[in-house]
């Protein structure tokens, strides 16, 4: 579903990704762990198409399409969802307005009929309930005045409404307390765990992976995937630390 090959990317002329290769199949939830500065967020930003990231080599195919041939909004409409580590505040635009416009823009791109106001609200209510978010929050401005935890929860409501084929979630677990982590994790399971979907969970910690059990785990270090394994790899990282596991991998 997502096939990354030999990806090299620079930020401000500095190489960050240095030959990253990774494959995520349909039906797979793949966790990426790694120390700070390894390139985890860069990977998410490159996949999303954030300005300021220069791809110097390699390729990414998403559902068989050359991802880099698509504009960021086209990637979204093709089914790629990027969960932000720091969701952006948009003063003056309500969540309801933002998400309805976004959903209908995606549907239009795919040649589907737009949702009416009523249809959209029904869907939004359902997804907000799934993430235990008050509908009143959705009437407020996008992320404005939301706590860190509320922003992450709102990201998952957005994901539920947009119903992507593939989600790249960049440290969605940061800033969440234990209860919110459970709600968000359950949300990810409910929305993304399906035979025709996939997800890349970028995280520092095992605690999200206790709720969203990954099928595969990869370690990202110095711009490359240095090891891939099953869920037990995450547990080993938690116990032994990155240095020990990576020393072993390179030995």
């Amino acid at each position: 579903m997502l096939k990354i090959e030999n990806l090299h990317a620079n930020v401000a002329d500095k190489p960050i990704l240095k030959g990253l290769s990774l494959k995520v199949s349909a039906g797979e939830i793949h966790a990426i762990m790694g120390p700070n500065g390894a390139g985890k967020s860069t990977l998410a930003n490159v996949l999303g198409g954030k300005p300021g990231y220069e791809i110097t080599d390699g390729s990414v195919y998403f559902k068989g399409e050359d991802l880099f041939a698509l504009e960021p909004h086209e990637r979204a409409a093709t089914g790629l969802f990027l969960g932000f580590q720091y969701p952006v505040e948009i003063p003056g635009v309500s969540n309801v307005q933002f998400l309805r416009e976004a959903l209908n823009a995606q549907r239009k791109f795919r040649g589907e009929e737009p949702f009416s106001g009523g249809e959209f609200l029904k869907l939004a209510k359902e997804k907000a309930a799934l993430l235990k978010m008050d509908m009143e929050m959705l009437k407020r401005q996008v992320n404005v005045g939301f706590s860190g935890g509320e922003k992450k929860r709102a990201e998952m409501v957005q994901m539920g409404i947009l119903d992507p084929a593939f989600a790249v979630l960049d440290e969605t677990d940061s800033g969440l307390d234990i209860d919110a982590l459970r709600v968000v994790g359950d949300g990810i399971n409910a929305i993304m765990r399906a035979g025709d979907k996939g997800a890349l969970l970028i995280t520092h910690y095992q605690r999200l992976l206790d709720v969203v059990k990954p099928d595969r785990v990869s370690v990202l270090a110095d711009g490359r995937i240095v090891e891939t394994g099953g869920p037990e790899l995450a547990l080993r990282l938690e116990d032994e630390g990155y240095d020990a596991v990576m020393a072993e991998a390179s030995a």
Binding site: P87, V93, Q106
Partner: protein
């Protein structure tokens, strides 16, 4: 006023320093004497919403005289494709209130401007002015707001707020707040900022599937909305916002 204007303004005149004086010349000197005069008696109210601007220069001059406790609300969408100037001169009686909301929006090389003179002539009057400008190409938007508080106009509360959003390099905005205060117990606030579209917000919106055009439209809509928050008349507000956003559609950015 009965006096007749005999000379065209020049850019050396403070109130015309950013004006397109050639366009004023095209309008002819008589245009400068055409004031719409509105006088409100004690406790009276006046609400007016207008869309101005066309393919030709326009000059709109309005003089408001407010009696004790009177209230005037004026909201303007200025989407001219040529020089379009709205000038408002307000004199406030005791405890009167003046509310002004304006938008200038457009590209090309046209100048759109609001020039207000608010005279707090008696105590306890309040005024609140909010202007938002959105420009691209070589377009520009100006807000020249003069506030005069006479010696006896204690407890005056006057506020001016200007924000401009420039969508392209080459567009410009000018804010000239001018305060002339002779009373000592007054509150006068003014703020002006000029910025560009929030890149982080644009990327975030793209990541959710909004094209750059749609994202820009939503962001501009949110930005200009401030100018009309004080409007009670929903339908009139929609009309003004629609006119402003219609101008944005013509932008091929």
């Amino acid at each position: 006023m009965t006096q007749t204007t005999t000379t065209l303004p020049t850019r050396r005149d403070e109130a015309w320093r950013y004006a397109d004086v050639d366009a004023v010349g095209k309008l002819g000197i008589e245009a400068l004497d055409q004031w719409k005069e509105i006088t409100l008696g004690a406790g009276e109210t006046y609400h007016h919403a207008m869309v101005v601007g066309s393919d030709a220069p326009e000059l709109h001059r309005i003089r408001l005289i407010l009696g004790q406790g009177a209230r005037a609300e004026l909201f303007v969408a200025n989407a001219g494709r040529d020089y379009t100037r709205v000038e408002v001169h307000v004199t406030l009686g005791k405890g009167a209130h003046f509310e002004f909301g304006g938008i200038t929006i457009g590209g090309g090389d046209a100048v759109r401007e609001f020039v207000t003179t608010t005279v707090h002539a008696e105590p306890e009057a309040t005024s609140n002015q909010t202007v938002r400008s959105v420009h691209w190409g070589k377009g520009s938007g100006n807000f020249l707001g003069e506030i005069k508080v006479v010696k006896d106009a204690q407890k005056t509360d006057a506020a001016q707020d200007f924000k401009a959003l420039l969508l392209e390099a080459g567009a410009s905005a000018n804010a000239v707040p001018q305060l002339e205060i002779y009373a000592d117990d007054v509150k006068c606030a003014h703020g002006a900022t000029v910025g560009q579209l929030d890149e982080a917000a644009r990327y975030y919106m793209a990541a959710r599937g909004l094209s750059p055009e749609l994202a820009q439209r939503l962001l501009v809509q949110a930005f200009i909305g401030d100018a009309f928050v004080a409007m009670d008349d929903e339908a009139a507000r929609e009309t003004l916002l629609h006119a402003a956003l219609g101008a944005l559609e013509e932008a091929s950015l």
